[in-house]
Amino acid sequence: MTTDTKTKPAAETLTMTGAEIVITALKEQGVEVMFGYPGGAVLPIYDALYNSDGIRHILVRHEQGAGHAAEGYARTTGKPGVCLVTSGPGATNMVTPIADAMMDSIPMVVLTGQVPTHLIGTDAFQECDTTGITRTCAKHNYLVTDVNQLARTLHEAFLIAKSGRPGPVVVDIPKDIQFATGTYVGKEGVHKPSYHPTTKPHPDAISATVDLMMHARRPVFYTGGGIINSGPKASDLLRELQNVTGYPVTSTLMGLGAFPASHPDWLGMVGMHGSFEANNAMHDCDLMICVGARFDDRVTGRIDAFSPNSKKVHIDIDPSSVNKIVRVDIPVIADCAEALAAILKEFKSRKAKKPDLKPWRQEIDIWRARKCFTYANSDSVIKPQHAVERLYELTRDRETYITTEVGQHQMWAAQFYHFDEPNRWMTSGGLGTMGYGLPAAVGVQAAHPDALVIDIAGEASIQMMTQELSTAVQHRLPVKVFILNNEWMGMVRQWQELLHGERYSHSYSETLPDFVKLAEAMGGHGIRCDNPAELDDKIREMIDHPGPVLFDCRVEKAENCLPMIPSGSAHNEMILGEIKGDEIGEAGKGLV
């Protein structure tokens, strides 16, 4: 616990129980919705919640669901997602979402109950070392052992979760601390001296960046989730900077929506299943300006062949991301919005003539003309790409939010659903957690009750968290789950085809639930479609249904997700048309 967080003496000292301190602190932090599941070690907090209004508690069906719901909520609102779970299994069930939020830099505050302090270390009922278990997968964590430190700790947790590079913070609260009486302190003045993220860019880094821009003939913006985290202003500034520079823009999976997909200079997503034009532009550019992305292996492909001839600028709030994977020429340690604003100002102030980008655009147009996302459509069977395309066309004019599970459907969603706004797209990028999408949709719907929220799912992934449909029904959160049902763990099947001589070891689901009946059994609405001719009508039926829907969209079973950069290959070595089986060398086979 920190001792030197200086708080103003409150006009009157507020004395209350630890449980009441928790609720009071959450309210002061502006928490409107929280996701949780009760149990012995959090009953005092639940009791305090019983008498309190102002915070909506969404009772999930599994703690992992609470975690992903909080992530979805956070990703779409920019506010920290809050969960409340019990000790032991409640806490261990939260580990996956905590790790997920850490990887994708999602602000989240997780409150866990703990056995009473005098029982800690005795292997008490439902005891686990929550801070020990979550130490390496959370941004920070606390075990509160003094009720008078509780309020301050909670405020500090919010501060740390949402500032700098956001992330999950765990506060473990023993039951006796929840019962004990202590003093409440407000959030004003709470800070942690050892924690001081840099948000303002160094002016030298900005002018060096603009110096490079003055001569760039083949520039590209490589943008990522950091722009979304930075807030809508960062997206606005990116658009403005793009507008004055005319640079083409690509994005990682996590950054989709920061730049409008409808813009003529949008290249599409970069990386393993990104567009041909984005990957070739990254490979052949002479100036790469990375804004809030981290050179993930899904993006870079073969590292020693990554964008060999470019100068690289890396804007990131986390210094450890810089030079971690790829050596860059100019690190800009700052919040994305601050850095973009500074670059914009500096760029506008330079009056010298900037190079003509026309030849670069022409080159990009040639790549574009390959139309890398072309697929063979069919009258007899629904192609998954077609299904997402139709879903997009039929929902694009509404306020629509998309979440996904993990697998081929996730990549097809990224390729064929187009985002013009930030905070509309929620997916598990870094950890790649199957089961993320439905609870995340629950969280998104809780934030936007009247919007259309769709989880684009796979039939395997959805079974990891199907129970959360019941949460949606209970809380009148009309989420739609659009399952691209190919009966396969399609992404696994694709890799087995590509890498393991078509030996499809345990990637086929011999049995599957009847998703229509399942939906009905849980109080939702089920729709099945296997006929391309009926697809539009059934999608409309889904949209028009006022409650939660499971849509079992039967799609082509053996479709591969292309284009693809096989592991260990370079950006300009994409597989475009068909998988032949010899694309990946021995070295690539060892990769993930």
């Binding site: 130490r135 075990l143 590079r165 260990g568 070295a587 993930v592």
Partner: protein
Amino acid sequence: MSDGSTATPPAGNPKSAYFLSHEDEAVERRTLAVMVDNEPGVLARVVGLFSGRGYNIDSLTVAEVDVNERRSRITIVTQGTPHILEQIEAQLLRIVPVEQVIDITKSKRGIERELALIKVAGKGEARVEALRISQIFRANVIDTTNESFIFELTGASEKITQFVDLMRPLGLVEVSRTGVLSIKRGKEKG
């Protein structure tokens, strides 16, 4: 795919992010002083970072150094290529209670010292020789019986190692070492 086991570096040249082997860079030894808030679990965070990310720890010392500010100083001796060492420093600074990382080795003003307690047992000629050598090394005798000494020795780690090596044939029983402590010369802090 987002899962799978870690690959072993393949023979031949193709590289990926997983075996970012900046092979051209030589491994260096570094002493880092890590200033932290002395709160529960802080040492586990620091040590866990090294094990979790596959960095080396050659030695580690820790103690509270400012009781009022509740500040501890952790001295870590580690090894890595310059690229890895840069990452270690940046990753350490990501830990919330880590206030500052001081690179003692790079500063050129760094002083490193270690303390060791060395037990040597023997009789006759060997015993006399052990005592004689300890005087050359300016070690203190802090315990003695008819058949043994415990020497206390402070100095650079190499000096201690050298002393221990010399004691080996003279009846070395056991050694306890603190690991490296460090500070910078001059009047400034940090």
